[in-house]
Symmetry: C2
Subunit: 220 residues, 2 copies
Amino acid sequence: MSPRRQDPSNRVTLLNAAARLIAMGGPQSLSARRLAAATGMSTMAVYTNFGSMNGIVREIARDGFKRLERLLMLAEQTDDPVADMAVLGRIYRYNAMTNGHAFEVMFGSSNLAGFALTEEDRQHGRYTLSMVVECAQRCVAASRFTPDDPVLIAHHMWIGVHGTTMLELGRYLVPPYDGNGFLEQQLTSLMVGAGDERARAQESVAASLSRFVSNFGPAM
Amino acid sequence: MSPRRQDPSNRVTLLNAAARLIAMGGPQSLSARRLAAATGMSTMAVYTNFGSMNGIVREIARDGFKRLERLLMLAEQTDDPVADMAVLGRIYRYNAMTNGHAFEVMFGSSNLAGFALTEEDRQHGRYTLSMVVECAQRCVAASRFTPDDPVLIAHHMWIGVHGTTMLELGRYLVPPYDGNGFLEQQLTSLMVGAGDERARAQESVAASLSRFVSNFGPAM
DNA sequence: AGGATGGCATAACACCGTTACCCCACGGAA
DNA sequence: TTCCGTGGGGTAACGGTGTTATGCCATCCT
């Protein structure tokens, strides 16, 4: 069944096809012509719906941020804010692993070749961080973290977890190191670096693992 | 003066032109034809000298790693290994800022569009980390860091500094946050996260700043 | 029922990386 | 000194890319 002309669902069809192409062969394999071939439309459909190839890529990135936000919102707020923070970190990695194609577009592309994010996209990325900021605030309020700008703390948390994730995705972690074990160490280091006592940090990180597993299933 | 045929310096000429192109308009603007136009040669020169466009890009990445290694080796080993570690972090960022084009090629491209690093290149990146591993070892030996696998500690350090640098390079740090201030906080957090006492960490990080400035001039 | 709108197909343009082919500037042999 | 073989690099083409001017026609409104 060939797509009908002037069908508003063409937009969704293109987006799905783009996601599938990226998932199959990496961002490299996303092209206007392949998109056209996969959907039975012409390359023009991309331009009327998204303005440019960059446009459809940015749309995928936006969807990726939305999905991440939705997942982060599933984290409950308990009376152990440090464990809450650790859960946020685990969700971040979970999203990257199960949504790899969007993740590559969101962060693999910022500077380089072809796809460029606008300042607005970057703002959106920062906005997603607000949940982490709020959690950092609670960690400080509970006297677990050293009093400091919550935004700054959130950035440190994000860098640590994002870096770990990118290292794993980029296959820089070779045996005997693996993403799972590395994340545990990283989370503890981050909490201690932010001011938590090491023993309590380890306890909270461990608690966050069982909380995460019960909500998202066993780790990857 | 047009380049002579069969001149071994053509290789260097191409490398320089490539670096200039990337520095001017980003990795995006590096193309075989522009390279040919800039050097007065034809696109074939790229293929006889480097095999492919990927080849010349990997050469630039290799040079980048070499340069980083050379800079890291300038860091002295004192009886304050934590300060030594902080100096390594500062040098890492210094290299990224003053050698941006190579840095983008080294890390901005791993997954995406066009330029791909081989497993060998990644190994080279890991090798560069050996200096950090050695320093981590000394930090543990001096009882400043919690006893742990030095390679693991080094990865944590690298992630923290690299993440900070990428955040800055990607213009994710908007006022009132800036790369300079952020790095100070990050370095302290990293040392504390690795096991150092906060007061001593702050002292060492502060000491590392003056050491760095006296060797590399005032910060950027 | 007829006219205006605008989404999409067609086909072209300029660019990209890559390669088959060929020339000819060079180094070594006679 | 002359000749030859080698191979680096120029020419031009191939198949790909993003993008766009043009025009058709399905849809919606009057």
